[in-house]
């Protein structure tokens, strides 16, 4: 493996490290973020090699062997830090989640003074029956949403990454632009597309007028779900693009040179070299897109409040708990637990499968 690292100890005992990170297969997610920083620096014309997105290291290298902390004090500090950080995660992540699970077995309504009963599994068994309308539709909408977003986001990101990985200010500007929606945040992104798809005289409506067409966009059951999928992809494609660029740049150019000498065409190079060697980035991107799509409710809330067929499980959980006058927090909690289990059932085996594919392709 190529070591691009230089550690020096100055006279006062300070350790300083300067390095170009070798973009190993483990660093691919992260190198996407480095890519953004490098793009901004390139745009501003102050690109330094040290901040570069990573050298072209060998595509796969052995995992680092376990290191050992030598001093007892360091060991103590490590445990203390680990436990404090884990305590925050447990206290504000896991404990509320368990509280949520407990709540899902009750008929809690948040009305002051209203009695709370243990209702057993009835919130769960009500799903899919006529007592809890919209659940089956929400499961279907969630699956459509997740599949469409995952495929769309990754295909678009791959396309962008392939073209925007080049050096030069034009490509750097492209990388920053593509990443911009993530930085804008959900509310602004939602507002932006509501304005553009304003059915009265918005730009999209005016465009359709040219062909004599009309649509209510986010207010029509045919258009709402595809448009929400589009906005979700639009917001997150930039992140995936940067991850893919990190992956593309980590591929050893000598492989392409060898392929060029052998006279292998562009399409086969893409299919036989780029795509397999990109496996780690694909793993990261697919998983983040799947998890992101499953848990999205805030963007949908801003765009449609879950109306017109856009009520995914996340949105349903929110609407069931807070959306109506007869809000039922117990049922809302049960739906969110069901969503969590559904995500778990899809994401963990997918993670295993993609890891297996990586190992098969990269050895």
């Amino acid at each position: 493996m190529e070591i691009l690292l230089d550690v020096t100890q100055s006279p006062d005992g300070r350790l300083t490290g300067t390095a170009r990170l070798p973009a190993s297969r483990h660093a691919l997610v992260f190198s996407g973020v480095m890519e953004l920083v490098a793009s901004v620096e390139e745009l501003c014309g102050s690109s330094s090699p040290a901040a570069g997105p990573g050298g072209r290291a060998a595509p796969a290298r052995a995992r680092p062997r376990p290191a050992r902390l030598l001093s007892q004090g360091s060991r103590l500090t490590m445990w203390a830090g680990l436990l404090v950080a884990l305590a925050v995660y447990l206290l504000f992540g896991i404990v509320p989640m368990l509280g949520n699970v407990v709540m899902s077995f009750t008929d809690y309504t948040e009305l002051p003074g209203a009695p709370v009963h243990n209702v057993g599994f009835s919130n769960y068994t009500a799903m899919g029956t006529s007592n809890a309308p919209g659940f089956t539709q929400a499961v279907v909408a969630t699956l459509v949403f997740v599949v469409a977003v995952t495929v769309g986001q990754n295909v678009l990101a791959l396309l962008f990454a392939h073209r925007l990985q080049a050096t030069g200010r034009f490509a750097a500007l492209g990388r920053v632009l593509v990443f911009l929606p993530i930085a804008l945040g959900v509310t602004i992104v939602g507002l932006l597309w509501i304005l553009i798809f304003n059915p009265q005289e918005g730009p999209a409506a005016s465009f359709l007028h040219l062909f004599g067409l009309h649509s209510a966009f986010f207010g029509s059951s045919g258009w709402a779900l595809p448009l929400v999928i589009f906005v979700q992809i639009w917001q997150n494609a930039g992140f995936s693009t940067l991850v893919f660029i990190g992956g593309l740049r980590a591929i050893d150019p000598q492989i392409y040179e060898a392929a060029g000498i052998d006279g292998i065409g562009a399409w086969r190079r893409l299919r036989r070299i780029t795509f397999p060697l990109l496996a780690p980035s694909i793993t990261a991107n697919v998983l983040l897109a799947v998890v992101g799509a499953f848990t999205t409710y805030n963007l949908i809330y801003v765009l449609t409040q879950g109306q017109y067929g856009t009520q995914t499980l996340g949105m349903l959980a929110f609407n069931a708990a807070f959306g109506t006058a007869e809000a039922n927090l117990g049922y809302g909690a049960a739906v969110s637990v069901a969503l969590f289990l559904m995500t778990l059932i899809v994401a963990l085996p997918l993670m295993g499968l993609l890891r297996l594919r990586e190992r098969r392709l990269l050895g």
């Binding site: 990170l21 680092p64 376990p66 290191a67 360091s74 925050v88 995660y89 949520n100 632009l177 848990t295």
Partner: protein, 224 residues
């Protein structure tokens, strides 16, 4: 890093399609990313009356929308809050992420991969805003700034761990051993060697995580 990695024999035949695809991607990025943002900027600078009459054309540039937002919507306080919550909470969750990610990446714990999966699951925990509220009230963290910041730290942790684990793994472990030999302390090693090497991370991933991928539990309303 060049994109042309072909031999002279094939380069000639590739030049034309490459130019076409470059133009295509330029047009695509412009339509998808430049125009929508320019449109909203245009609306922000024109009068509401002009927007209602002709939403498609730019009106005369006015700045009163901003002064109005500043005074009516308490934008000053909200901007301060946004900066406070995003910057301080991101910094804290990055630091916490580093403290969890380093032992995982270096396999210093027996159950390191179990811990990783445990943190990965944190990316999609069910939103639990009501229990979180109850808990925040109980711990007197409700309706005050330190509490709100603390509540904002947790949602950034899982992604920070996932991203930082990957990046720390790319820093050679030999470096650790050299540093331990020199007697470097744990935290000073993290801050003097690991943090500079993974420098773009602090602020980067959790910042985008905070705005883009935060869970519902991260955003209870009704806070200062």
């Amino acid at each position: 890093m060049t994109t042309v990695r072909t031999t002279p024999a094939t380069r000639g035949s590739l030049r034309h399609p490459q130019l076409v695809s470059r133009i295509c991607i330029g047009v695509l990025v412009t339509i998808l990313f430049v125009l929508p943002i320019l449109y909203v900027l245009m609306i922000a600078f024109e009068s509401p009356k002009h927007f209602l009459n002709s939403p498609l054309t730019p009106g005369s540039v006015i700045a009163s929308n901003f002064s109005q937002a500043w005074s009516q919507a308490d934008l000053g306080v909200q901007l301060l809050n946004t900066v406070l919550y995003s910057v301080v909470a991101s910094a804290l969750s990055t630091f916490g992420g580093l403290l969890i990610a380093f032992p995982i990446a270096r396999r210093l714990l027996r159950g390191h991969s179990l811990l990783y999966t445990f943190m990965f699951v944190g990316l999609f925990l069910p939103f639990s805003v009501i229990p979180l509220f109850a808990e925040a009230r109980m711990l007197s963290l409700y309706n005050n700034r330190p509490g709100y910041i603390l509540l904002h730290v947790e949602p950034g942790l899982p992604l920070a761990v996932v991203l930082l684990t990957a990046s720390i793994m790319s820093v050679p472990g030999e470096l650790d051993e050299a540093a331990w030999m020199e007697g470097a302390g744990y935290l000073s090693y993290l801050f003097r060697v690991i943090v500079p090497l993974v420098r773009p991370a602090p602020g980067g991933p959790p910042g985008s995580a905070g705005s883009g991928r935060a869970r519902w539990s991260a955003t209870p309303s009704g806070c200062p």
